[in-house]
């Protein structure tokens, strides 16, 4: 087994408007507060079932990398003009900073070094047996703690510093909001292109980590003082998806390498395909079929966000690691529905995780001549519809929690030689 060293650091990060805001974070190396490039995020790492620790932005390890993050189609779909058959169990997915990946059957092993002047903690929320948390417990300044535990069932999990309330990580959002948060993705090794044994198959997956930045809390913490939300109510002023906001999140900055990374890891994209939501494992040839892409949202922030997709509804398949039923749905005591269903606006409470399939299909309400004449990619926004999150420092719309997705331009690929539907 190999252990990942995690360093709890502090430093200043530039926001989308250039303002430097104090952050704390789980990093890959020890850095000081004055470091011009502090290590405040973990680069993606994979704990394999075979006991290795592999730094990798992509998973499954060794799978082909989709160019600019966008899988190319296998064939035209003879049954659905204008649509394509996509490769099954083929493409790798890219993952953003703050992601840890653990294969089912692996052991998560982290040695956490607290470089700061206060006690801190690294907790994997709900990653223990029976939904209990796995945590280092409080780590005193300058000390290190080893945490090891078997990977929980496949799904997405939040890791964070739960602050004063390790018994209830939702109760104290301060350290998490200062930046001490990320996502653990446990993969299903029986089929690495399926989120869980009962979950949907996907062409590729995308992990979206939502976050909110409160500069007033950051200022207090930077002085070494304690943030008390009763005294200083939360007032987030920057809203991020995978650590970026606004034009940087949309990949349209003059920093071409940063744009490139956004395309690979955040901006969902693929060729049109006709998905049947009753069966995301619809094979047509041995290696190609019809399925969508999986969006896995994890809200490490403090606000309720509303992920609104333009262009396609999404099919919500799992909430907080539980695959939703397809029949016998229920409404819980809080008024939330537990049944797989379509949504165009996905509500994300703090610490909530949801998996949704973006079908990447023809937008249903376009007229035929426009669809048939398309020759360019069609870009659609995805943004939070709690519109207070759509600005940066009180203005500069759309400078907040935004992303987007793209239906690729038509490409010339042949139909499959054999059109017999495979199981």
């Amino acid at each position: 087994m190999t252990t990942l060293n995690v360093y709890i650091n502090e430093g200043f990060l530039p926001m989308v408007d250039g303002a430097l805001v104090y952050h704390r974070g789980f990093g890959n190396r020890a850095t000081s507060v004055k470091d011009p490039a502090p290590s405040l995020t973990l680069s993606p790492q994979v704990f394999t079932a075979a006991g290795r620790l592999v730094p990798s932005r992509s998973y499954p390890l060794g799978a082909p990398l989709p160019p600019l993050g966008r899988p190319t189609p296998a064939f035209t779909d003879p049954a659905n003009p204008g649509h394509y058959l996509v490769r099954r169990k083929y493409w790798a997915s890219y993952f953003p900073e703050r992601t840890l990946i653990a294969e089912a059957g692996s052991v998560v092993s982290v040695r956490v070094h607290n470089n700061l002047a206060q006690e801190h903690e690294l907790m994997f929320v709900g990653a223990g047996s029976g939904g209990k948390h796995r945590s280092t417990g409080k780590i005193r300044p300058g000390r290190s703690v080893l945490l090891e535990f078997p990977a929980p069932p496949p799904g997405s999990y939040v890791f964070c510093d739960p602050g004063k309330r390790p018994d209830d990580p939702a109760a104290d959002p301060v350290e998490r909001t200062l930046g001490l948060a990320g996502a653990l993705l446990v993969t299903n090794t029986t089929n690495k292109w399926q989120s869980a044994p009962s979950g949907p198959e996907f062409e590729r997956q995308w992990l979206w980590i939502l976050h909110d930045v409160d500069p007033a809390w950051a200022r207090i913490a930077s002085r070494g003082d304690t943030v008390d939300p009763k005294v200083t109510p939360a007032y987030p002023r920057y809203f991020t998806l995978n650590g970026r906001s606004g034009y940087q999140s949309l990949g349209i900055s003059t920093d071409l390498s940063a744009n490139h990374i956004r395309e690979e890891e955040t901006l969902m994209s693929g060729s049109a395909r006709q998905v049947d939501v009753r069966d995301f494992s619809q094979g047509v040839t041995a290696g190609a079929g019809r399925t969508g892409q999986l969006m896995r949202a994890v809200n490490t922030g403090i606000a309720i966000h509303q992920l609104h997709f333009h262009g396609n509804h999404v099919w919500t398949v799992a909430i907080n690691g539980k695959v939703l039923p397809r029949s016998g749905g229920t409404v819980d005591a809080n008024g939330n529905v537990f049944l797989q269903h379509w949504e165009d606006t996905v509500e994300m409470h703090p610490l909530e995780r949801k998996d949704c399939v973006l079908p990447v299909r023809r937008p249903p309400d376009v007229i035929d001549p426009v669809w048939n004449a398309r020759s360019t990619p069609w870009h659609y926004p995805m943004h939070c519809h709690a519109e207070t999150s759509q600005v940066a420092a009180g203005g500069m719309y759309p400078g907040g929690l935004v992303a987007g997705w793209t239906i690729a331009a038509p490409v010339a690929v042949p139909p499959p030689a054999a059109q017999k539907e495979a199981p």
Binding site: I304, R326, V331, G335
Partner: protein, 369 residues
């Protein structure tokens, strides 16, 4: 979005202030419409039922008068729909929230263009197919301006949008008396069909100018402190009777067992914050009288079989609840199935997106006959 279709920006403020303006862009492949509407922009002061007067920006049609929400638009699946926008002095767009056309007709300034002259949006809601979860756009939506959106939606630039299903021979209706919310959905009573849009006003925002914040100034559009909470809407068969805000005072619902079909309630959250709704007796005891039949314009179905996917209510598993919790921009279609005639209450709480604190509450009587 990617560099292949957009030019690159050096800063957020450059992006925010450099919008893609086209005065009067052309509609590609303009068809003969089955439904057409002209939407003009207006601004006016409106007095609400709590006595407050707010500056409101909204859309109006030739016949609608100046109402809030902006006039309800309604069409049938398969119809080619045109809406021509005349923004007046400023630039605006119309985004058809939940309707999914091509990007030019999606009405988002940053991925298409903003309109200063006029533009005719064109789309065709997809036809539903009984038992098929993959097709059909019948349902409840809303439309809104997508320019400086936090401000423009808060100012009132939104309206309800309903797509009715095609009538399938296997799922007939009584013309003028009943309808279905989607192609194979349950019949509901047209006379009592009601829309409810939750809307809360932060008066500070209503003092701002059209482009507030776009040049980089901090205008506090991340600080939403609503002091006035309204339930807009009413019975669709009656519509707003006069200009100004159309405010829901009461709900009439049909009791089960008679010849009348159940009442359909269409819920829209036009806030930035979530709402929590509960149905109770007049004494406050929860009553699971709400059957959730659709969400965001799509029916709830049983999709466990590769064959037909019937609506949940049709397979003996209606999603019955006394409570509905939903955030900004979500919609629900709710069939009211009260156990007996009598007086009930719908309580709607507006709550804070971070603290969860209840900021305002409205109680609406529900009379079941």
């Amino acid at each position: 979005m990617s560099e292949e279709a957009h030019h690159l920006y050096r800063s957020q403020v450059e992006f925010s202030s450099d919008q893609i303006h086209e005065g009067s862009p052309a509609t590609e492949f303009l068809q003969k419409p089955d439904r057409a509407v002209e939407l003009d922009f207006f601004n006016d002061k409106m007095t609400f039922d709590d006595g407050a007067e707010h500056e409101i920006w909204a859309f109006e049609t030739k016949d609608s008068g100046r109402v809030l929400p902006s006039p309800l638009l309604r069409m049938t699946e398969g119809e080619i729909f045109h809406a021509t926008i005349h923004p007046s002095k400023r630039v605006h767009t119309v985004h058809w929230h939940g309707i999914e056309p091509d990007p030019r007709n999606d009405g988002v300034g940053h991925t298409s263009f903003e309109v200063s002259g006029e533009y005719t949006y064109q789309w065709q809601p997809e036809r539903g197919r009984p038992g098929d979860p993959n097709f059909g756009s019948a349902g409840t939506y809303f439309y809104h301006c997508h320019v400086n959106t936090p401000l423009h939606v808060q100012m009132g630039m939104f309206g309800g949008l309903i797509v009715d299903p095609i009538v399938h021979p296997d799922y007939p209706v009584e013309p003028g008396i009943t309808r279905r919310a989607f192609v194979d959905g349950p019949e509901y009573d047209l006379a009592s069909e009601t829309v409810l849009a939750a809307y809360a006003v932060d008066t500070r925002w209503h003092q701002m100018n059209h482009a507030a914040g776009l040049s980089g100034e901090d205008v506090g559009l991340d600080r939403y402190e609503p002091r006035h909470f309204y339930l807009l809407g009413g019975e669709l068969a009656r519509g707003p009777k006069r200009e100004g805000p159309w405010q829901l005072k009461a709900i009439r619902a049909n009791a089960g067992g008679g010849s009348r079909k159940p009442t359909l309630l269409r819920l829209i959250n036009a806030n930035n914050f979530p709402v929590h709704m509960s149905f109770t007796t007049a004494a406050g005891k929860p009553v699971a009288m709400a059957e959730l039949i659709a969400h965001d314009g799509r029916p709830y179905r049983d999709t466990s079989s590769l064959g037909a996917s019937p609506p949940t209510g049709a397979v003996g598993n209606p999603l019955m609840t006394s409570m509905i919790d939903f955030g900004a921009a979500e919609r629900f279609d709710v069939l009211l199935r009260p156990p007996t005639p009598g007086q009930y209450r719908l309580t709607v709480d507006l709550y804070h997106w971070i603290t969860g604190a209840v900021l305002a509450t409205k109680v609406i009587p529900v009379t079941v006959t």
